[in-house]
């Protein structure tokens, strides 16, 4: 694994270890870890996503990000993580992570609950699309911070 993937696994493990507690993952720690990843990448950033479930219990949202600079080589990766710090819910610490290598998904995983997740990612040398799903019952809104980065290998 490269540095990016190693960091992803470390963060996911830290969150997984806490998933059965009511303790919040300190958001600052997560942000610091992600910062360490993204400092190595020219193209990175974050945005918030909000999905309000409908009465049928499912709602979707997707977001496409254009990289500030197109990737240059034929060997590249894009990565993303979405993190829910719990908000007002009794359930906390949902996180999804995904990696696209040379256009194909090489990792798409969820840690903790899978009620609200990153369901799909796609990427090219110029952009990345992230899709989300909220399967909560009733009109419950899910808010999360999404981090992303792309880089030439």
């Amino acid at each position: 694994m490269n540095d990016f993937q190693t960091s992803l696994v470390d963060i996911a493990s830290a969150i997984r270890d806490k998933k059965n507690t009511t303790e919040n993952i300190p958001f600052s720690q997560f942000a610091e870890a992600i910062k360490g990843i993204t400092e190595k990448s020219t193209n990175h950033g974050s945005f918030s996503v909000s999905i309000k479930a409908n009465s049928s219990g499912t709602a979707t949202s997707s977001r496409t990000i254009t990289f500030l600079e197109p990737l240059k080589s034929d060997n590249w990766q894009s990565m993303t993580q979405c993190f829910d710090d719990g908000g007002n819910s009794a359930s906390k610490n949902y996180v999804s992570a995904g990696i696209v290598t040379n256009g194909s998904i090489t990792k798409l995983s969820h840690v903790g609950a899978i009620r609200t997740v990153l369901t799909n990612i796609s990427s090219s040398k110029t952009s990345m699309t992230m899709s989300f799903l909220n399967t909560a019952s009733g009109t419950v809104t899910w808010n999360a911070i999404v981090y992303y980065a792309s880089y030439d290998l």
Binding site: T58, T64, L68, A90, I114, T119, T126
Partner: protein
């Protein structure tokens, strides 16, 4: 001196490289992104174009799979996913409610809209289920009378329940 602004538009083509401002413009509007298109036939230079975002909609099969995964996860984990937090109580409220409301036994059937008190907060049941622990719970049909003591908070409960954040 006025600041010069650059205008971008759907279908716009960039030769060689696109300016980061164009990426910013696409990201801000959330309607477009930039794709790489065929290179210049004569020079081989890379070319890029502003195109519309595709809206991803999961298929029925994907939704069913996600729901099945979620149900399996719920079976495996004894977390209180079935509740959403609606109100933090003060000490007086907690004391009043603990004194006035009965405990519900483990394996109690919760209906959507029932409330439960846990760690000084009220949670609303969002998914009907059987509880695996005894706790102070309030059936939806009785909450108005039981909580008349804290009328002001009753209003808050309704507001938070309608737009609560997960």
């Amino acid at each position: 001196m006025t600041e010069q602004t650059q205008e971008f538009y759907l279908g716009q083509v960039f030769d060689g490289i696109y300016p980061p401002e164009a990426a910013h413009w696409c990201n801000e509007g959330q309607m477009y992104h930039i794709d790489e298109i065929e290179p210049n036939a004569e020079t081989g230079e890379r070319r890029f174009q502003i195109v519309e975002n595709e809206i991803y909609e999961p298929t029925e099969e994907e939704l069913a799979e996600m729901q099945a995964q979620y149900e399996a996860w719920k079976q495996k984990n004894n977390m209180q996913l079935e509740f959403v937090r609606t109100l933090d109580l003060n000490d007086d409220n907690v004391e009043y409610l603990e004194d006035s409301l009965p405990y519900w036994d483990a394996d109690t059937e919760y209906r959507e809209g029932d409330y439960v008190i846990l760690d000084g907060a009220i949670y609303r049941c969002t998914i009907p289920h059987n509880s695996n622990e005894a706790t102070i719970a309030i059936a939806d049909s009785t909450i108005g009378g039981q909580l008349s003591y804290i009328d002001q908070h009753w209003v808050e409960i309704k507001d938070l329940s309608d737009g609560s954040v997960d």
